[in-house]
């Protein structure tokens, strides 16, 4: 059955040896990143199963409490109050048996990227006038950038810096609250609890399914990469690699479309007719009502402080 050339076996061993050859490729690193995400999801899931303070609360009470705190925090302009609320989130992460260092890292990893980019320009007198704190450059009189005229010297202003710090701190506090919610609630329960704030059932179901299929598609991508690795004898050029990545993106899209059709058919064959019924077994206890009341009261106090009705 097999052709002659296929019955040849080369029993000579390689004269070469395995040595370290430096950096990993871009695609390989990206796939590693994907695996890192899976690992992170795994760790988050393990936090939500611990027997901590926030884990023991009803997800609906937790969702509404945290949303109230976030709303109030976004109105606060006093740095000391913001630091106090941020410290509270750290305390709650500790009481919920979440590794505080992990929690801080998780929050501050994204703050410089998003809040930082927005906040940095406002520290300079170019955008926001104020008292000079530190001179960055002297441009001389009549300086301009295209049609925009620039001040004589560019400096960091006291007011600008304070506003930037307050803005960053506010974002950090709000993100911490959200991260705390995500870490202490299993994903599917968190999505289901969105019903309490009026999110329609269909969206909740879509979220639940999307979250489940992300993992399936990620696994598919990882396997495709590994299968290509197994067949790559010598590295190919950049264009070939890009072709492969482009082809795989297209294929993943085709696969996900055909999978969504099949999933829909499977749902229909099990009685789905467009009307969604989600299993919800939440039960509010006294402590959940109490936690909700405390959080809403705190938010109210914060709103009063922000409106200068209460002074600290």
């Amino acid at each position: 059955m097999i052709p002659d050339w296929m019955s040849e076996v080369d029993a000579n061993s390689c004269k070469c040896s395995a040595v370290n050859h430096g950096k990993k490729g871009f695609v390989g690193k990206t796939i590693d990143g994907i695996l890192g995400f899976l690992e992170e999801a795994f760790i988050s899931e393990s936090f939500s199963k611990r027997s901590g303070l926030l884990q023991s609360l009803d997800p609906r009470a937790k969702l509404i409490s945290i949303l109230a705190v976030i709303f109030a925090t976004s109105l606060i302009g006093d740095l000391r109050v913001l630091i106090f609320i941020y410290a509270l989130t750290l305390l709650f992460s500790y009481l919920s048996k979440i590794d505080v260092a992990f929690f801080i890292k998780r929050v501050w990893l994204f703050i410089p990227i998003f809040a930082g980019i927005i906040a940095v320009p406002m520290i300079f007198n170019v955008f926001l006038p104020g008292d000079p704190l530190y001179q960055v450059a002297y441009l001389g009189p009549g300086a301009h950038l295209g049609p925009f005229s620039l001040p004589e010297s560019i400096f960091i202003t006291k007011q600008g810096l304070t506003a930037a710090v307050i803005f960053t701190m506010r974002v950090a506090t709000c993100v911490s609250a959200v991260v705390l919610l995500f870490l202490t609630t299993p994903q599917q329960i968190l999505f289901k609890s969105l019903r309490t704030v009026g999110v329609p059932k269909l969206y909740v179901l879509t979220l639940l399914m999307a979250y489940r299929y992300i993992f399936l598609l990620m696994d598919l991508i990882r396997e495709m990469y590994v299968a290509k690795k197994a067949r790559t004898i010598q590295s190919r050029g950049m264009i070939d690699e890009q072709n492969w990545v482009g082809g795989r993106i297209g294929y993943t899209l085709i696969r996900s479309l055909s999978m969504s059709e099949k999933v829909h058919m499977a749902m229909m064959s099990r009685g789905f007719s467009g009307e969604v019924h989600i299993m919800q077994e939440f039960e509010m206890k006294n402590r959940d009502y109490m936690a909700g009341a405390v959080a809403i009261s705190l938010s109210l106090v914060l709103v009063l402080i922000s409106q200068n009705v209460l002074r600290v």
Partner: protein, 286 residues
């Protein structure tokens, strides 16, 4: 020209363990050697670590602990995942071919013809040799009529055949196959067994992960039984593994309602309370 296979270890695993995301164990303390020209099956129930073991043997994942040597070289991530080409990795990838369980992940070219030509094109062979190899393999696999089809439009059995073709066209000396008979119709399954036997006779090293007990003694001389605790439970000749009913039962490879007829294992549907007997004198009298 056939070469006499030398009895030397090409793969050597020393206390290899592997766990996914550092938590889910897939392999535990596996120590084994595989010699050149051996025909080996790795058997075990679902999720016992067969696929992970094959992936380690192909240098696709790396042990979480322990060492894996292939062709007398320690295989590490630094060697295999580097951006730069290196001679050993090319040698390894030329020598070892892997047929994946999920055919879909292995096929990425626009047509079946290009898919099969992908491998030999990387071997720096002349275009004529590449073309004749591709033709030979397509004829051997009886997939000539699929030549211009896009791989994702093929049926499950056709995809599997194309996958095997893409690997064989490189003429690797070592073949790793992950559940190759799964989802194949009986005729294609028999054809696959004959192909693996012929490759084995030619001196290739054929390592197959499967839980299809019926093909084991036809395609292998040695069987490695993986237990449900992800460690090697038994490593012996295939015939004696197949005749060890207790071992197969404890490894979840047979069910207590599975019947053994000599070496042959098969299952019957039955209703409790009316268990049947096989070829007893009473049956014959009836």
């Amino acid at each position: 020209m056939k070469m006499q296979a030398k009895m030397e270890a090409i793969f050597d695993l020393r206390n290899v363990s592997y766990s996914y995301v550092g938590k889910i164990d897939a392999l535990k303390d596996v120590t084994l050697k595989i010699n050149r020209g051996e025909k080996v099956t790795i058997i075990g129930s679902n999720g016992c670590g067969k696929s992970t073991l094959l992936a380690i043997l192909d240098g696709l994942v790396y042990p979480s602990s322990g060492d894996f040597y292939a062709f007398d070289n320690l295989i590490t991530e630094d060697v295999f995942d580097a951006i730069k080409d290196n001679e050993f990795r090319s040698y390894f990838r030329t020598k070892v071919g892997f047929v994946f369980q999920n055919s879909d992940v292995q096929l990425f070219s626009p047509t079946v013809y290009e898919e099969i030509a992908f491998g030999p094109l990387q071997l720096n062979l002349s275009m004529d040799v590449v073309k004749s190899r591709v033709e030979d393999v397509m004829e051997m696999m009886e997939i000539g009529k699929l030549r211009d089809r896009s791989p994702h439009t093929l049926s499950g059995g056709e995809k599997k055949k194309v996958c095997i073709a893409t690997v064989l066209v490189n003429n690797p000396d070592v073949l790793l196959l992950d559940e190759p008979s799964a989802g194949l119709d009986p005729r294609t399954q028999l054809w696959l067994i004959e192909l693996l036997q012929e490759l084995g006779h030619a001196g290739k090293t054929v390592i197959t992960a499967t839980h299809d007990l019926e093909i084991i003694d036809q395609i292998s001389d040695r069987s490695i039984v993986m237990g449900e605790d992800h460690s090697v439970k038994m490593d012996r000749d295939s015939e004696s593994v197949l005749s060890d009913y207790e071992l197969l039962l404890s490894s979840n490879l047979v069910h207590e309602h599975t019947h053994l007829h000599g070496k042959l294992v098969h299952e019957h549907l039955h209703v409790h309370g009316k268990e049947h007997t096989h070829h007893t004198n009473q049956d014959q009298k009836k």
